[in-house]
C-alpha cells in the first residue's frame, strides 16, 4: 500500500521581524530598551547638544589659522595661528631650525633599531636588545649634541618640545625595565645584604615624589660640585627619572613574580637549571606576561611625569607651551597652546595603551580560556 507522501518542501525563509534587525532595532535594543535607558539616552543627547556645538564652533568654525600674528585672531574662536607659527618649537624646542634634521634622523634610527625585535626568526632578541640599549645612547649623544666632524654643537639646554618628552620617556622606559627586574629579583633574593639594599632603595625612592628627586638633582647637587664643574642638567634629569621609574617597575614585576606558583620554581630547580637560567627561561617570561598592564601603566605614568622636568629648566612639551604662552606676541592664546600640548600627550598615551592591549591579546594573558 503506497502512501503518498507529499514531497518535502521547505517553507520560504521569512526575513526576521523588523523589530529585531536594522537600525531601528539597534536603537531599541541599545538605547531605548527600558524607561531608564530612554531617560539616560535623552539626558546624554541633551548634554552632547549642550557641549559639542560650542566646542566645534570654538575649535573649528570660528577658529583662525591664517595670518602670522595674534591680530588676525578674535576671542570668539580658537587661534590656531599660534600653533602654526610655533609648531617647530612645540616639536623641537629651541633646537636650531637648521639642525632639526638631526632629530628626525635620530627618530628614524630609533624606529629602525626596534624593527629586529619584531622579526620572528631573530633568536637572540635579549642580546640584541641589550646591545641596542648600550649603543643607542652613544649614537644619540653624538648625533643630537654634535660638536664633531663639522656638526654644529647643540647644547642640551636647547633641546625641548615633544622631542625632549619622547627622549626622556624612551630613556626612562628603556632603563626602568632592566633596573626594575634586577631590583625585584634582588628584593626576593635570599642574600641578606642585596635584599636590604634593594628594599632600601625601592622604599626610599617610592617614598619621595618625582618632583622632589628632580628638585634635589637641580638645586642641591650643584652646591656639592667644584666651581665651574657640573653634570649636564639633562643627564641629571635622565638619571633621576630612570631610578625613579625603576623602583616603581620593581614593585610591578615583584607582583608578577609572586603570582607564579611555587611549583614552577621547584620544577626549574629540579631540572638542574641555575638561578639565572630558571629566572630567564621559566619564571620571568611568565611573570612579565602577567603584569603587562601594570608595566604599561608605569610607562604611561612616566610619560606624563616627564613634564615635571620643567622645574629643572628643561623645556619638555608642556614647558615649551608655557614659554609660548609667555611671549608677548601671543599673549592671551594660552588655551590653544595648552590644548595642542595636551593633544600631543594624548596621542602617545593612547598609542601605548592600544599597543599593550594588542600585546595582551597576542600573548593570551587574560584568563579567557
Amino acid at each position: 500500500m503506497a502512501t503518498d507522501i507529499a514531497p518535502h518542501a521547505t517553507a520560504a525563509e521569512l526575513p526576521p521581524p523588523r523589530t529585531s534587525v536594522g537600525p531601528l532595532a539597534w536603537l531599541k535594543q541599545n538605547l531605548f530598551a527600558t524607561p531608564k535607558d530612554t531617560v539616560l539616552t535623552i539626558l546624554v543627547v541633551l548634554f552632547l547638544l549642550w557641549v559639542v556645538p560650542p566646542l566645534l564652533r570654538w575649535a573649528i568654525f570660528d577658529a583662525t589659522i591664517s595670518g602670522t600674528t595674534r591680530d588676525v585672531c578674535t576671542f570668539d574662536g580658537a587661534c590656531w595661528t599660534v600653533i602654526k607659527m610655533r609648531f617647530g618649537q612645540l616639536i623641537y624646542g629651541l633646537y636650531p631650525p637648521e639642525a632639526r634634521w638631526r632629530v628626525n634622523l635620530m627618530a628614524v634610527l630609533v624606529v629602525l633599531s626596534l624593527v629586529p625585535l619584531f622579526l620572528p626568526w631573530l633568536k637572540q632578541k635579549l642580546l640584541y636588545g641589550a646591545g641596542v640599549l648600550i649603543v643607542m645612547p652613544i649614537v644619540a649623544s653624538l648625533i643630537l649634541e654634535g660638536g664633531w666632524g663639522g656638526l654644529q654643537q647643540v647644547e642640551t639646554n636647547l633641546w625641548g618640545g615633544l622631542f625632549l618628552t619622547l627622549l626622556i620617556s624612551f630613556v626612562g622606559i628603556a632603563a626602568s625595565l632592566p633596573i626594575g627586574i634586577l631590583l625585584a629579583l634582588g628584593r626576593r633574593s635570599n642574600m641578606p645584604i642585596i635584599k636590604a639594599l634593594c628594599v632600601t632603595l625601592i622604599e626610599i625612592v617610592r617614598g619621595v615624589p618625582l618632583i622632589t628627586v628632580l628638585f634635589m638633582a637641580s638645586v642641591m647637587l650643584p652646591l656639592f660640585f667644584p666651581p665651574g664643574w657640573s653634570i649636564d642638567k639633562l643627564t641629571r634629569a635622565l638619571i633621576g627619572v630612570s631610578i625613579f621609574s625603576g623602583a616603581y617597575m620593581a614593585e610591578v614585576i615583584r607582583g608578577g613574580l609572586q603570582a607564579i606558583p611555587k611549583g614552577q620554581y621547584e620544577a626549574a630547580n629540579a631540572m638542574g637549571l641555575s638561578y639565572w637560567q630558571s629566572m630567564g627561561l621559566i619564571i620571568l617570561p611568565q611573570a612579565l606576561r602577567l603584569v603587562i598592564p601594570g608595566i604599561v601603566n608605569t610607562f604611561i605614568g612616566l610619560f606624563k611625569d616627564t613634564s615635571l622636568v620643567l622645574i629643572m629648566g628643561l623645556y619638555d612639551l608642556l614647558g615649551i607651551a608655557r614659554m609660548i604662552v609667555a611671549s608677548p606676541e601671543w599673549l592671551g592664546r594660552s588655551i590653544e597652546t595648552y590644548v595642542a600640548a595636551g593633544f600631543g600627550f594624548w596621542i602617545f598615551c593612547y598609542a601605548m595603551s592600544r599597543y599593550s592591549q594588542r600585546l595582551e591579546r597576542k600573548l593570551h594573558t587574560g584568563h579567557k580560556h
Binding site: 595674534r70 576671542f75 607659527m85 610655533r86 618649537q89 629651541l94 636650531p96 631650525p97 647644547e155 639646554n157 626610599i204 628638585f215 634635589m216 637641580s218 638645586v219 642641591m220 650643584p222 652646591l223 656639592f224 660640585f225 667644584p226 666651581p227 665651574g228 657640573s230 620643567l310 622645574i311 629643572m312 629648566g313 623645556y315 614647558g319 608655557r322 614659554m323 609660548i324 604662552v325 609667555a326 611671549s327 608677548p328 606676541e329 599673549l331 592671551g332 594660552s334
Partner: protein
Amino acid sequence: MRLSSLLGACALVALGATAAQAGPTLDAVKQKGFVQCGTNVSGLPGFASVNNENQWSGLDIDLCKAVAVALFNDPNAVKYTPLNAKERFTALQSGQIDILSRNTTNTLSRDTALGLDFPVINYYDGQGFMAKKALGVQSALELDGASVCVQAGTTTELNLADFFRANNMNYQGVVFENNDEVLAAYDSGRCDVLTTDASGLYSTRTKLQNPDDHMVLPEIISKEPLGPAVRHGDNEWADIVRWSFYAMVQAEEFGITSENVEQIAEETQNPDIQRFLGKLDELGAGVGLPNDFAVQIVKQIGNYGESFERNVGMGSTLKIERGLNALWTDGGLQYAMPFR
C-alpha cells in the same frame, strides 16, 4: 647616605652659606668668550621670552646683551640658562651663571644672607590691583569687603593681607596656583579684583576679552625693585654690569638713541657727552672695558627708553607706562651715576 647628604645641603642653604665661590667672574667670562645669563624658565611677557625665531628677547634679556656688547662688542655672545624661582640663587652661587637677570626683587636678605649683589635696578615694579570698570571703584581704598584673586605662595599674597589690615578693611582671598587660573577666575567673575605686580597686571589685561572694560587702580601697595644679581664680593664684575646698564640710562638722558649715536659721537662739542662716548678721557679703562663701550651698547641695544618701549612699553603688546621707570628728569626713578 643619600638622605644625610641632602640634609647637609639643606642645612648649608638654611645657614645662608655661599658654597662654591667661583673665581673672578670677569676673567672666566673673557676666557670662555660669552656671558652666561640666567633667565626666567617659563618666561615673563616683555621681560624674557622666546620669539617665533627661537631668539630670547625682553627687558631682562637686553641687560645681558648690553653686558655682552660692552665686553665682546657682540650682543649674541650670551648663553641663556632658564631657571625657576627656586633654583635661581643656587645657579648663581654655584657658578653656573654669571648674571641672574630674571625679574628678581632686591631685598635685604637676598643682598646679604644669600650672598648676592644687585648692581642696579632695571625695573621698578610694585603690586597693584585691577578691577572691572563696572564695579565703580576708583581707588584700592574703596575695596572693603571685596573678593580678591591672587596667586598662592608669593609675596603678593602677604602684601595683600598687610595692605588690607593696615587700612582696616576686610577682603576675601580667592587663591590659585598659577597666573592663568587667577586670570580665568577673575574673567569669569569669581572675584571683584585681581592683584599681582603692576607689570603683570598690564600683560594680564591684554589677555582679557575686552581690555577696556578693566582698569588698573592707581595704588601701588608694595615695592618690587627688580634687577640683575651677581655674586657678592666680585666687585669688578658687578661694576661691568652696573655701568653697562647706566650707559643705557645715561644715553636716554642725553637724548642719544641707537639711530643718532654715531652722528653725535662725531659731532658733539659737549665735554660731558664726549666723555660718555669715549672721545675724551679714558673712562672705559677704569671699568676694564673698551673706551667706546657706551657707543656700542647704545648702537646695538638702544638706550633704556628704547629698550623699555620695545619690550614692555607702547611699542609692545603690553603697553606699560613708564611711571616709576621714567628718568629722574621726568619724575621717575631711573638715574645714572655721572660718567666722569
